[in-house]
């Protein structure tokens, strides 16, 4: 029996790897996920065969309720709510890991060897802070909590001190595993730290936070497996941990910031004085004029941002792209790595609207193209097209790679109102000679553009 169970685990580990390998291309991704699903099934069956399990009653309750909740969430959550959903599931994953850790600790009454204790401690520490941190992130993304950074005086010092105490608890537990009080104190502190870690982070930095939480949730899972000493399944947790880690690094690179800066910089609370010096006038453009410009262009590049997601404008945008293509215009979409609220956010929304992925271009691919672009249309994006990042070393976003919309012959910016973006920075692009502003709800503006172009 043991051989059978272990070989199930081994196969499932291999299937997980094959599954993620499939993710290297959209064509093979779905097949890859079938491997991963099968791998998960094998792991569950293998576990249920273990002789330690003597009763199935509660397992069935958990499995059935969890499946119903998961299915409901999986089928009905709209694509626009994907960042919240993902944050929420990070919370669930991390909670599951910490609960297992607590249960293990409680069962042994703290009578654990140092290694197992450190695995459980790590699991519970990371799991707890990820649970509350993810819930806060979810609240921010859903709009229940203010998206602006919440800051107070001495915040970083306080957070650091809290983290230090929490880690001290962990170290103490490593030395004295049976110090039960210390264990529960550590959990409490980690839960508080999770909240404090995420509240000072602005919405625009969410892609990094999401990736980090993803990484933590994965590492907590990996630690679970250490704690129950199941070697092969370490693979699964580690894959997740590293995936989140790599994504965090990519997101940070895309903003030219370090992870510490994102976590402790309280970005988005930028004071006015850094940006107030902007002068000039923003030029408005009418729907009809914009339609003419688009219809007679050779190449049009759309630059979507989070504003497209909030306005749900992706379907209208696809329509506009279709009518333009019918007229022989080359249409491309330029996707900045941190556009939106999570990695790949824009790609999913555009895919939902049936935009073929061959039309989506990454930053490095599209930037040389802007020179030969007649019209670049910015749909609810701001910081990712802010030329200050490139030209002004004193700007808070200096060095962040941008989509060089200002190199296009004309840039049309769709914007809700005259205010600033989420980061609170002024954007000189809006004041340029070659830029025209089209105010209003992005979805309405684009629908009107579609009508106007069709009439031409």
């Amino acid at each position: 029996m043991e051989i059978l169970i272990q070989s199930f685990y081994l196969i499932s580990g291999v299937l997980f790897i094959m599954g993620l390998r499939g993710m290297s291309h959209p064509e093979s991704a779905r097949r890859g996920m079938f491997y991963a699903e099968f791998g998960m099934l094998l792991a569950i069956v293998g576990t249920l065969l273990q002789q330690e399990i003597v009763t199935y009653d509660w397992i069935i309750v958990g499995l059935v309720l969890g499946s119903i909740a998961g299915l409901a969430m999986g089928l009905w959550v709209p694509m626009t709510a994907m960042p919240q959903r993902t944050a929420f599931s990070h919370a669930f994953g991390a909670a599951a890991a910490s609960l297992v850790g607590v249960s293990e600790y409680y069962r042994h009454g703290g009578l654990l060897d140092h290694f197992t204790m450190s695995a459980i401690g790590f699991e519970v520490l990371l799991g707890s802070l990820t649970t509350t941190g993810s819930l806060i992130a979810c609240g921010k993304l859903q709009g229940i909590l203010p998206g602006k950074p919440l800051v107070f005086k001495g915040q970083n010092v306080f957070n650091m001190a809290l983290l230090a105490v929490t880690v001290a608890c962990f170290v103490g537990l490593f030395a004295l595993p049976h110090a039960t009080g210390l264990f529960y104190l550590m959990i409490g502190l980690a839960l508080i730290f999770g909240v404090l870690l995420v509240i000072p982070i602005g919405s625009a930095d969410m892609p990094v936070v999401m990736s980090l939480l993803n990484s933590y949730a994965g590492l907590a899972s990996a630690a679970t497996v250490f704690a129950i000493n199941n070697k092969v399944l370490i693979i699964a947790g580690t894959l997740d941990g590293f995936s989140g880690f790599i994504l965090s690094i990519l997101m940070c690179k895309a903003m030219n910031r370090s992870i510490t800066n994102v976590l402790f910089g309280a970005f988005g609370s930028v004071s006015d004085h850094a940006t107030a010096a902007q002068t000039g006038e923003m030029k408005e453009i009418s729907i009809d004029d914009a339609a003419v410009q688009l219809a007679y262009a050779r190449q049009v590049v759309f630059v979507p941002g989070y504003g497209m997601a909030t306005a749900q404008a992706q379907h209208a945008l696809r329509e506009l792209s279709d009518v333009l293509e019918e007229r022989g215009v080359t249409v491309k979409f330029a996707i900045h790595p941190v556009a939106g609220r999570m990695p790949g956010h824009m790609n999913v929304l555009l895919a939902e609207a049936n935009v073929p992925y061959s039309q989506l271009f990454e930053l490095e691919q599209i930037n040389p193209d802007f020179q030969s672009t007649d019209v670049a249309v910015v749909v609810g994006a701001n910081d990712v097209v802010n030329p200050d990042a490139r030209d002004k070393p004193s700007s808070p976003i200096a060095g962040m790679p941008i989509l060089e919309v200002d190199h296009a012959k004309l840039a049309i910016v769709l914007k809700r109102g005259k205010g600033r973006g989420f980061s609170g920075l002024e954007n000189p692009l809006f004041f340029k000679e070659k830029t025209a502003m089209l105010y209003g709800d992005a979805k309405d503006s684009i629908s009107h553009l579609v009508q106007a172009v069709t009439k031409l």
């Binding site: 790897i17 290297s24 959903r85 293990e104 497996v225 693979i235 997740d240 790595p337 790949g344 895919a351």
Partner: protein, 104 residues
Amino acid sequence: MTIEAIIPTLYVFVLAAFLGYQVISRVPPLLHTPLMSATNAISAISLVGSLVAAGAKYNIVSTILGTVAVFCATTNVVGGFVITDRMLRMFKRRPSPAPKNSHE
């Protein structure tokens, strides 16, 4: 746990980390959101620990904690895979030719 038992575990961890780095680096930014929800589903492998805690009749507290953990992890497994598939289904090279575009 003895040192002899720890070493192979660490081996697996370190090798998995390298493998993870290699595999994940090849995922294009296009698929980063599905990647996140997929790894989320896979990381619900802590379900394995939850199942044992819920089913082993160690004591009432462990059973309750285990059951809640089984619920959380199962939600992630099922929800994560369903939603990943829903997303991946949307990624198309070219949209299925709509009638009005047939001149292409």
